[in-house]
Symmetry: D4
Subunit: 248 residues, 8 copies
């Protein structure tokens, strides 16, 4: 039942064609969620600068391109994550202004450049191999309208490199920390700042890293209380959650 | 080296007793972190209403009581988590105004009632067995100076109960969701709101719940992008992180 | 909003006090699930002989007794699972006619003896140690109004014992199979019958049984296609699902 | 020993050529399962519309084609699961009327269109990536003679999409729910309906989904009591078990 | 159907009261396993000196005692494994000649002292903490009528102690090796002898031994090809299998 | 120190050139394992018909061929396991009489056809996909000089097929059972026979089979006491251990 | 064969009673490890100040006391790890000078105060709960004759506390780092020093720490290359290995 | 702040332009880690013969070549691990004197041939498949300026081969032991020597080796107290740690 048919029913109530009791009975069996609910939600999303997002992995280039184009028409920013250069070439044909962020494996269309965030989202990575995940977080935050900054390759085995970046960290409203292997960096960062820290375990490592499990467990057991965690390699999720926080 | 001894060195530089080059050399070998660094940190913590926190488990009642009393002297709120009634009796003898939040297994001393948060922290639990963890999160948020609200026993198998609480959720600036068993609730909540959601897996369940592992994995794989996760049963951590976010 | 207040709103529409458009707008913001939804659900449950169920583990005897008594007042059967004899003593004081099924660790109050099932639910156990789980399934099916039968101690290492019970199996409309250790019995039973088989892994075993994990994995990998699986030791769930199937 | 030779023995008993005692002794050593047992079973299977099924993965196209052709000769429906287009091309050469259900990765030959089921089997999927598994379940149910319906892409993070499909769910006699990632959908569906729900975890996801383990554990720990579970990605098994239930 | 009723049927065939065709039809529905099958099995077991065995863990003393007494009446040896001294006291009251092997946690009644084995079963343990498991294996082998010998506390970190026992190993027809922690001993023993080696991982260890998992995995990956493995702490199973081999 | 130099030392003792005390001192520091020890071992192996074995996986064809040729020169049988057809082509060039057992993925050179086993080794497989592992076991047993027999595709979901093979099982002196998925077959076989059973879990399956882990755990928890287990897919090890037992 | 009997054999060679060839043959069958081998080893151990060590857990107080006393007689230091106060009371009765190190749960008898180490072994712990493990390492190193120092409660979430201890770290020849939860400290310490670091994961933590597994995996994946790891809670092993290194 | 700007500040203090109090305040906010700290560290590294190391896996040949060339300019030895022949060809073009150690998958440039180690580092491998990991350890130790030796293919199932190498082991100052499958070798070696042993689990094996997990757990549970462990396949880490120990 959409708003139109509800209105029709109510008009019948008004006209006396349907009694209030009958109307209650009929409404009880209506699919209530169609009262415009979904649309409102959609509108709210568009108005607030949330990007439309495509998870490209496992989709063929043409599919991604078509979805991308349709989303572009909503007028908001569009983001395709886990995208290969083949995906990009297909998108580029349909959407001229799309850009490829190679490190982040992301295709981006910036149509709305409003700054929705109140502060800076800082993305930190432990090693150079963690950069693709970090970049995915960074691009997501950018596309969602945030000022961003980053500190890369500041792993805990060279603690002075991290400490040298303290100024950057102190400016952050929210911090995202990406680390593989032992996943220790979020704990150290968490101890140095008062900002909320979102930890992203990466699948970087070998042997007993078990594709990111070691880093994940490490972060969940962080002795710093301001650390929360997302899924292994989930740079997008971290960037998204950080953006929501930065809008508060 | 504390600030006093640094000052003394600088006075010797001024007086010419020590050359600038010598001073550089000596400072290079100083434990630089003692330049008042820790104290500033401590002051900042006190000023900002962060409570002093004691993890009581594995500590004997007397220990908890003594630490509690010493912390009380800092003037800020004091929180002891995972505390038994035996812990509370010991604390009560030394700190009259301490209260025991039985459900949360927490001892609380409220000395600072400033409201540091800008909105409401809402705590949601899936089942009644998750309430101890939810209450730990709630008490933590309260002690850190937040308005709080809660929705309990709104698990996903009775989705209408959750939907009935939509108004409460819509008022939240940050949401904490505690769930054991399949840990599905944060995904559903995450899909209903735009606020950041902190998910707390609980060890509630049996068999293939593997002491909270099932819930933990479920939350990490949430299809809602605004969900981040903390350790199993870590109500405190969720309350702490939510409080930091609510101050932004 | 309950049915009463909805009716009131509709009467205002009828009387012209509220316009249909205004009514649509207000209804959009109503907690629609309170439109008698839960009550209907409840009624449907009561009418159909579904028992009210209490999971006793972790609850103190008094709590169980009070909930039990309140549920009794619904007029339907009442079932408390994972109940100790202490739980039973407390219930007995408040509800005279409650019975204790010791093997099943269940407290039962039979107020409705309608036979809701169309055939027989057969419960099979591999070893004698699996009997508590099997009995929980059996009692659940009974309380939900099914004819039941059982075959116990017919594990796969003595296949002739199982084959001797073929007649019983052939009469089943639904079969529940409980097994610990290697959990092989559901596959063998599944191959002998055309009825749907619900497999319950039990935590019976030691060493590499890992508290039922071996049995669980075995059942999930069953080479018999008519086997579905519930959680380790979840006799109740199996009895419940089997009862629903037996009503079809 | 088949029925013929048993009969011959009995005739020798009748004629006195063999004493009853001798006959007992000889029968004790007979392979009793050859008393037409298997054949009866086969007949029952054919008569009741159970399809012949080939698991194609790991088999070369020619093998699948030959088995498919031989099965066709039984006169019942034939189903080849996990089949590639190469498998299909090989089958098509030998069996003209075979069809390829690409989404389901299934080859189907419909020779018997009897409706063996009493109601509708509804297949629900959480995301678009779960569709191959859902389609395998759907095709299996169809080939086994059921009315089917489906609801796709109704994951828990957009609960209103699921609720909008309530009418479809209410018509189901059995429901199959396929979900990857956190596997929460069966719990929500289970709470909305009284029909038995068969949950199929899919290997969709990454990182801590551990190839479907997270979804599997989630479903096993479902707080809805009408949910049973099959192996990861086992759409066929779910379709098969649902069909058996739908015939009851 | 037992042999008696089968004979009766056959006599009816002979007398013409039942036709051969009718007899075939009736026999097809008989529980064929009751054709004396189980009894033969039982006889064979008794004749061949296989002990009757009771797994005492989880049984109350009285239960064990009653089963023990009933088994004694079969005339063969009786063995109760995982038995506490309380179990023994209860057994002792009913069966005077029962003995308690404390190290092995086994109650033994030796009624048949035939030597069924052709050679010696040698039991080896890595550390002193593995001795209970080793003794369970040893007692099992003894009760099943084997010559036994043992080598204890010859772990791989002191390889010379093991090598000193080479003479004992060389005399073995079958070897059982019990080891916890890294479970390396079976590989070393396996490399020194040509006899079959049955490896028993024990739950001895802490931390990353994960209750015997480390030892179990080690033994399954043994680089010695003559090693097979039983469940963690399953001394009984090893003793049983070794006895069967030693009778060959 | 080899036998020659030891003899030389002893001759010096005899001639008085070296005193007994000096000899003791020098021998204490000798590498005692060079006293011809390894050679004796080698001789024993050759004399007793143990094949020389090459694990081909990860070796390039030329390597395998060269090792194969060198081993051929020992005069005993030669076996290369996990060999591809490319391995075989390379071997064939150097060793004309080598044969390829495709199903078993094994290259065999039969130079010694002595029958070293006293009875028959029976190899049983649950499904057709387990046959490669079963064949590896079978070929190994053959090459080691055993009579062999097999029963394939007799999985527990069609128990009558297994029972039909009872005669074959009853003739076995040792039984090897290969099964993937739930790994239940060894338990059923173990319950039907008194022979020792060696269980081989295979990596056949998908989803929660976890590459053979489910089958492995199932077999380790077998309720049949005559079952021992080897590593996943380790047909060779099972064939080797069975051969040693069959020689006893 | 001990040195005496070897000497006897050699004298027979000298006297001509035994030919060199016969002697070679007999020696080939001797248990060569009894050539005084073990004794030499024992002497070397005693001479070098290695303590005799008793693992007390699972042993009754009397057993520990008797072993302790016997070891005392070797004249070297004696160490009993994992000892309760009950163990200590029993030891104290037999060995007056034994001391109890309560934090380390260790009983110590210092009879040899030689300093065998060339530098200082520094033990670092992340939290106060890790101190028992750290103390076990410390006491072990002391008893083995090392200078020791420690830094406790310097976890990575308060990095300045660790940096303040840099001077202590710089003096270390070997460092032992004990940490539970995320186990990140060894990586940070490893990056600050050039000394070898032995990491000890502790079982401190809850939930996803899985009894030390998270810390263990973290340490194995350390991005600092000078870190090696021992078993969870194995303070003794770390102290032992560090002592060996410090003697180099 | 580097040393230059610190000196400038101090000169201002000396000249009176800045008061000591002001200087303290300004220094408190300086990034203290830039006081030449990193450079000193770097110098120390170069002076002490530590090689510059590149982890090649996942880097394209050109990247590795460029980094290699830049590192060469530091004048110290350069090591690229996990390098393919493609990596080597690219490096060779830029750095003529670079050599490829194929077995170790390492590219080496030896510019500094100082012997920094005091004794010999011995590398032992269990099987031939473990040699790549062993060689990585060996090359690392060589490049870091150590005398090295090795014993390959001395697995525990042929213990005499290991014992034959005792002389080599006795000369070691530090021992590295690489083993896959059951990972038992470090325990045996650890029991034979007094030197510190660094164990490297390798991913060699199949089935229940779980890519090295079995070997890893085995080594962590070693009953030899002188064994510490590094990550699976981490030959480099073992070689690095051994080198540091050998310099002590």
């Amino acid at each position: 039942m959409d708003a139109a048919s509800l209105r029709k029913l109510l008009q019948e109530v008004r006209s006396g064609a349907v009694s209030p009791d009958e109307a209650v009975a009929r409404m009880r069996h209506m699919p209530f969620e169609d009262l415009g609910f979904a649309k409102i939600d959609h509108h709210r999303r568009v108005r607030s600068g949330m990007p439309e997002v495509i998870y490209s992995q496992g989709k063929i280039p043409d599919q991604v391109a078509k979805i991308f184009k349709r989303m572009k028409e909503q007028g908001c920013n569009v983001l395709a994550t886990r995208a290969s250069s083949a995906h990009f070439r297909a998108v580029k044909k349909l959407v001229r202004k799309a850009e490829y962020r190679e490190l982040a494996r992301a295709i981006v269309l910036q149509q709305d450049s409003t700054n929705y965030g109140k502060g800076t989202v800082v993305v930190i990575s432990a090693g150079t191999s963690d950069i693709p995940v970090a970049e995915e977080a960074l691009v997501t935050a950018e596309v969602m309208g945030n000022n961003v900054a980053h500190l890369y390759d500041v792993g805990v085995a060279g603690i002075h490199r991290l400490l040298a970046g303290r100024e950057v960290m102190d400016k952050a409203r929210v911090i995202i920390v990406c680390a593989g292997m032992e996943g220790a960096l979020p704990s150290v960062v968490g101890g140095l700042v008062m900002a909320p820290v979102i930890a992203v375990p990466t699948s970087v490592g070998y042997g007993a890293s078990f594709q990111g499990l070691a880093a994940l467990l490490g972060m969940l057991n962080s002795c710093a209380s301001n650390v929360t965690v997302v899924n292994i390699d989930n740079g997008f999720g971290a960037g998204y959650a950080a953006s929501l926080i930065n809008r508060l």
